[in-house]
């Protein structure tokens, strides 16, 4: 039953994706900027024939509705066209960048959850203590800190001054493990290449912290307020009255119920992490989707912009679906 519901939801994503595709197609063409002209750069002489040849090659000489028709015809076949600047299928280019972005998003989410839940729970249990006040002030700072600035500070402190961590890219040169998923943490484990795994983890630390900081702050606050509410419930009092250890009461009885809002926020935020990391990917030279989006927008690489935005839309659809499915496990009262 559940799997049918999930399938239904996935099928419902198809019209959404096509709608997104048409909108992006129109928006990028309404935005000022001529891809062929930008490609020729501002240097030296360029012949008019050359510009025309490229326009023909990219179908830019055709009327808008013809271009849209060609685009949609290809999209339903799973072909997003070739990038103007890189002359490669958009799906290949995105396929290379996507694992990097996924790895970073999960690194950031992992970092955020790891610290946010203990901080949130502790602050709720010791409400109004100095620790509570401090951690809430800290989370306020986390929310308001610009990710760009925080990233540079991390680089200067841990990369330049202390020299502990690599500050750019995903892996150093010289490892040799087969690429299976494109996710280095998984590929290195599959190949049992532990030095490479360590190297990949080291590369992941700083960008994950920079990207996950805001999420950490948000999750800590959400967990705290939801814990506060749950701790006042009768069943928590009952559990205590039964003489259970306080730790068991908090973790087993209170936390599980308090986590629902946290998971909702996390689910939505994973979408944000996957789609909103242009700045972090730029600062840490992380070869992911965010940087691809930025580069493609500046060069008006229409097919690439379309592809990246469609992937973003798809990510949101999936992230929401996953959250809904997770609910049903945490709270059996909820159905899909």
């Amino acid at each position: 039953m559940k799997s049918i519901k999930i399938l239904e939801r996935l099928l419902a994503a198809i019209p959404i994706m096509i709608g997104v595709a048409i909108l992006v197609f129109l928006f990028v063409r309404l935005t000022p900027g001529d891809p062929v002209d930008l490609m020729m750069g501002s240097a030296g002489s360029v012949s008019q024939q050359e510009i025309q040849a490229l326009q023909e090659e990219f179908d830019l000489d055709k009327p808008l509705h013809v271009q849209l028709y060609i685009f949609l015809k290809d999209v339903v076949r799973g072909d997003l066209g070739d990038s103007f600047t890189q002359r490669e299928p958009v799906t290949d280019i995105i396929g290379r960048a996507l694992p990097a972005t996924i790895e970073l998003a999960f690194g950031a989410a992992f970092f955020a959850v790891l610290f946010a839940i203990p901080i949130g729970v502790y602050s709720a249990v010791k409400q109004n203590s100095i620790t509570d006040r401090l951690s809430m002030a800290f989370s306020f700072l986390g929310i308001s800190m610009p990710a760009f600035w925080f990233g540079i500070i991390l680089i200067i402190v841990f990369g330049v001054k202390l020299g502990w961590l690599p500050i750019s890219g995903r892996l150093d040169y010289g490892f040799n493990f087969p690429s299976v998923t494109g996710l280095y943490l998984i590929d290195t484990v599959l190949a049992r290449d532990w030095p490479a795994l360590k190297n990949a983890v080291l590369h992941l630390i700083l960008p994950s912290i920079a990207l996950g900081m805001q999420l950490l702050a948000v999750l800590a606050r959400v967990t705290r307020s939801s814990m506060l509410e749950v701790l006042r419930q009768d069943y928590v009092t009952l559990a205590r009255a039964k003489g259970l250890r306080e730790f068991i009461v908090i973790v087993k009885h209170a936390l599980r119920n308090a986590l629902i809002p946290t998971i909702t926020v996390l689910g939505i935020q994973i979408g944000v992490l996957l789609g909103g990391n242009m700045i972090i990917e730029t600062v840490f030279a992380w070869p992911g989707l965010g940087r691809l989006a930025v580069d493609s927008i500046f060069s008006r690489d229409f097919p690439l912009i379309q592809g990246v935005v469609m992937i973003y839309a798809f990510t949101y659809v999936i992230a929401n679906l996953v959250v809904d499915v997770l609910y049903t496990y945490i709270n059996p009262k909820i159905t899909l």
Partner: protein, 537 residues
């Protein structure tokens, strides 16, 4: 059941975290790109085999392709040029010297014959012959020659019509009309292997490039949006005899790493994680020079920067107003204070280093009184309001210009644009003052005065048009007598100078920084980073 899952998850997370924590503590045990000497010594003591020497260069934008025919991008060129050699190359003084071509001869105004050096091999072991040279250039100039697509580099070669191999080591170029800049454009065209491309197709070639340059491409771990890795080619023919040392490259491995953020590039250099960095902002020089591990180096850029004045619209339809702008702006001061001295103010529309520079042009010296006089004569005694349009990288200079213009009662402000949007507005003719720049790697007036000041030129943002200038440009572009050609270009410069369709600006020094242990590397005015001779101490 669910508890167990939760518990194991928590445990996994804990383990991972502890692991990560430990790793950061003993980073130097088996890491891979240590740079400090201590670590290297330790490494060498531990391992009998010498560690590979790796030189990492941080570049600001991604590499678009590895096929030399399919881009018009300087960063891509910089990377590719280390894997491929050209017929000719340039010294850091911009002198053209033989590379793959041993010698050449212009046999008629439209025919050039190149003698190809013997004994050069591509990275796949095949010998490089005149066939490869002919194939390379025909691939650039023939429509649809790259798997049905056309090369965007056709225009760079001007009137090249076809290239034939007349014997195994002789290639004959036929031009449709004389092209005085033909030779100057050749250093940027890399020779590719004919048989390899014909067998495998251009798409495969772009992913598995094979050249005849000092480094060969390593596919493993190379990703165009992340890094391009090359290893020394052991059977390299040695490189241009005019640029010493001749022989194999010095370092074992070269990595071009894409790092778009300036602050990150500089941090990586300071941390020793990269050895050469491009595009250093002038305000960072002081800080970097204070670090004894780092050296800052500059090379005169071939990119001119000026503010173009829309001659179709008031007030700039009046030549006096345009001249007044030139008198009112003090670029010497801007270069001195905003660029920290890393640049040179221009007197007219062309740079002094280029061919046929007119040194008789006196330049508009800074003279606000004269500017005010001219404005009054032109009917603007109280000045006017104007917006200077700029890209983000021109913002500081544009603001200084606006400030100076306010001294002559011209109420100027600056608006920063995304270039793609600005470019469309410029084409519509709706903008008045545009802080623009134009590159001219050929160091010949053709590369800048034609696109910028000919009627309808591709980069003519001022909409300037002068029948005499157009006529002279047309003549100069086919004249092969270099004295006559120089005279044409000099007259063109004089006319443009007098009519002042732009506030003639400046050229910058392009700034690079390197670790002190990098030896024998000099930046080049054309922006190339040639790593053939570079070593690591």
């Amino acid at each position: 059941m669910k508890n167990k899952i939760l518990l194991s998850l928590v445990m996994l997370l804990t383990i991972l975290f502890v692991f990560a924590g430990c790793s950061s503590g003993n980073n130097d045990q088996e890491g891979t790109n240590q740079t400090s000497q201590e670590q290297e010594e330790k490494e060498q003591a531990e391992k009998p085999v010498a560690k590979k020497e790796v030189l990492t260069v941080a570049i600001p934008t991604e590499v678009l392709t590895l096929d030399p025919a399919m881009h018009r991008d300087r960063v891509t060129e910089t990377v590719i040029r280390n894997m491929f050699d050209g017929l000719v190359t340039r010294t850091t003084d911009m002198e053209i010297v033989p590379e793959i071509a041993e010698s050449w001869e212009q046999t008629s105004p439209t025919e050039w014959v190149f003698k190809i050096r013997q004994g050069i091999t591509f990275h796949n072991g095949e010998a490089l012959t005149a066939d490869d040279v002919a194939f390379t250039f025909n691939r650039l100039v023939t429509e649809g020659a790259v798997d049905g697509e056309s090369s965007p580099r056709n225009g760079l070669l001007g009137p090249v019509e076809k290239v034939e191999a007349t014997d195994e080591y002789t290639a004959k170029f036929t031009l449709t009309e004389p092209s005085p800049v033909f030779l100057a454009m050749l250093p940027f065209q890399e020779v590719v292997p004919k048989d390899y491309i014909e067998e495998n197709g251009s798409e495969y070639f772009a992913k598995n490039p094979v050249g005849a340059g000092p480094f060969k491409f390593i596919k493993k771990d190379s990703k165009l949006n992340e890094q391009v890795i090359m290893e020394r080619y052991e059977n390299y023919w040695g490189g241009s005899p005019d640029i010493s040392p001749v022989g194999n490259a010095q370092v074992d491995v070269v990595i071009f790493k894409i790092m778009p953020e300036t602050a990150s590039r500089i941090a990586a250099l300071q941390a020793g994680q990269v050895q050469i960095v491009q595009e250093i902002p002038p305000d960072m020089i002081e800080q970097l020079e204070a670090d004894s591990n780092i050296e800052v180096k500059g090379a005169d850029s071939t990119r001119e920067r000026f503010i173009e004045l829309n001659v179709n619209k008031p007030p700039f339809d009046n030549v006096k107003v345009r001249q007044a702008m030139n008198y009112a702006v003090n670029y010497e001061e801007i270069v001195k204070y905003i660029l920290n001295g890393n640049g040179e103010a221009l007197k007219g529309p062309y740079m002094p280093k280029g061919f046929a520079y007119n040194d008789q042009i006196p330049g508009y010296d800074y003279n606000p009184e004269k500017a005010k006089e001219l404005l009054t004569e032109a009917g603007y005694p109280d000045g006017f309001d104007v917006v200077i349009d700029a890209k983000a990288d021109e913002k500081d200079v544009a603001e200084a210009v606006a400030n100076q213009l306010r001294d002559v009662d011209v109420n100027a402000s600056v608006r920063v644009w995304d270039y793609a949007v600005l470019k469309e507005k410029i084409a519509e003719g709706s903008r008045l003052m545009i802080a623009a720049n134009w590159g001219n790697g050929s160091l010949d007036p053709t590369g800048i005065l034609e696109p910028k000041f000919k009627s309808g030129g591709r980069g003519n943002f001022s909409f300037y048009g002068n029948a005499r200038v157009d006529e002279l440009i047309a003549k100069a572009m086919v004249e092969t007598d270099s004295q006559k050609r120089a005279d044409y270009w000099k007259e063109i410069q004089q006319i443009i100078y007098d009519e002042a369709p732009a506030v003639f600006g400046y050229i910058t020094q392009e700034l690079y920084a390197q670790r002190a242990n990098v030896t024998n590397w000099e930046p080049s005015p054309d922006g190339r980073i040639n790593l053939h001779d570079v070593g690591l101490e």
